[in-house]
Symmetry: C2
Subunit: 200 residues, 2 copies
């Protein structure tokens, strides 16, 4: 079972974390029904365990605080208004530290800016929300920022386009770490028309 | 501005409430940018204000408790494991009471069972998750349960298919209460391929 840690912060975009949470936890439910093992444990991680105020005012309580959580196999940074967190030294330090020991680092939407601030985009093909492609290029000229991609899997780094693209990217993670069949059954369970990325 | 109340309960499906929350709050952000008024205020309502444990273990804190919230123009019942709440007399009483004074009652996925328990489906065309169509027919034979519909708008009652269909239905609500243009811009902001329902 892989442990996936999703970073929560004030002004995080709701669907950016809730979409991946839904996909990865539903994959477990679908797997269990057919007698297979649950592939993912999904943890929400905040700077502290104080409830976070997501965009629009949704209040979510992190399961763990920075540096007080199990080892993360996958670390996922959602987007939203990242103007505070991308400039927060503790967030950058945590992102660097967990990425260094995780097998995979993932962003949704403007979460890519946090990865950039942690120095994780240099020389990599990456994407973000269509509205922020130009800004990401300007902020991190060493990254190869691509537009019009639903998500980009670079092996140890997966970045997604805006908001709902996190759902499609997460279905890709289900496929990558389990089977195509489980990913398709998860999408079907969610009644979701998976917008897959073209094969590289 | 319309006040939308979304019911939260233990074992609610994450995307069933987070999808509509995202759409309706994003519509406000998109409207504001172009100088228009924010069309929706979205409140999460629990039986109490104690944090709710959604499916997969996500902890969300309701903004208000039953009968201690502003007047609701729209009441939305998400799905998930509704086996407890559909048999809870207080939930049924609240659902009846808020529906009676709201202009619109909405369900996502298995939330339709709660509406059925509150007597709100009789004689209406309704839908639910594809896996639960047969059960909904059996439980509420006085309802006209239809399969293969993304959502069904019956004027004062809107029901949606499974999980992600709540996103499509909510974009329809944006269109219905504001404009087609704002609904399309909201979907674009969410980078979402809107699966609209065919015109009735």
């Amino acid at each position: 079972m892989l442990t996936v840690g999703i970073f929560l912060f004030d002004e995080v975009e709701v669907l950016d974390f809730a979409g991946p949470f839904e996909v990865l936890s539903t994959a477990g439910r679908v797997a269990q029904r057919s007698g297979a093992e649950v592939p993912f444990r999904v943890l929400l991680i905040g700077q502290t365990q104080t409830p976070v105020r997501a965009r629009g005012g949704l209040l979510v309580t992190p399961h763990h605080a920075f540096f007080h959580h199990p080892h993360l196999d996958v670390v996922l940074i959602p987007g939203g208004d990242v103007s505070v967190v991308q400039n927060d030294a503790e967030v950058v330090r945590w992102t660097k530290a967990v990425s260094a020991t995780a097998m995979l680092t993932v962003s949704v939407c403007t979460g890519a800016f946090v990865l950039g601030a942690a120095g994780l985009l240099a020389g990599r093909r990456v994407t973000t929300h269509w509205e922020d492609v130009a800004d990401l290029r300007q902020a991190f000229p060493e990254a190869q920022v691509e537009a019009d991609q639903r998500f980009i899997d670079e092996g140890t780094l997966v970045t997604s386009a805006g908001i709902s693209a996190g759902i499609d990217m997460s279905l890709h993670l289900v496929r990558r770490f389990t089977t195509e069949d489980l990913a398709q059954r998860t999408a079907r369970q969610m009644d979701y028309a998976w917008q897959d990325a073209p094969a590289p």
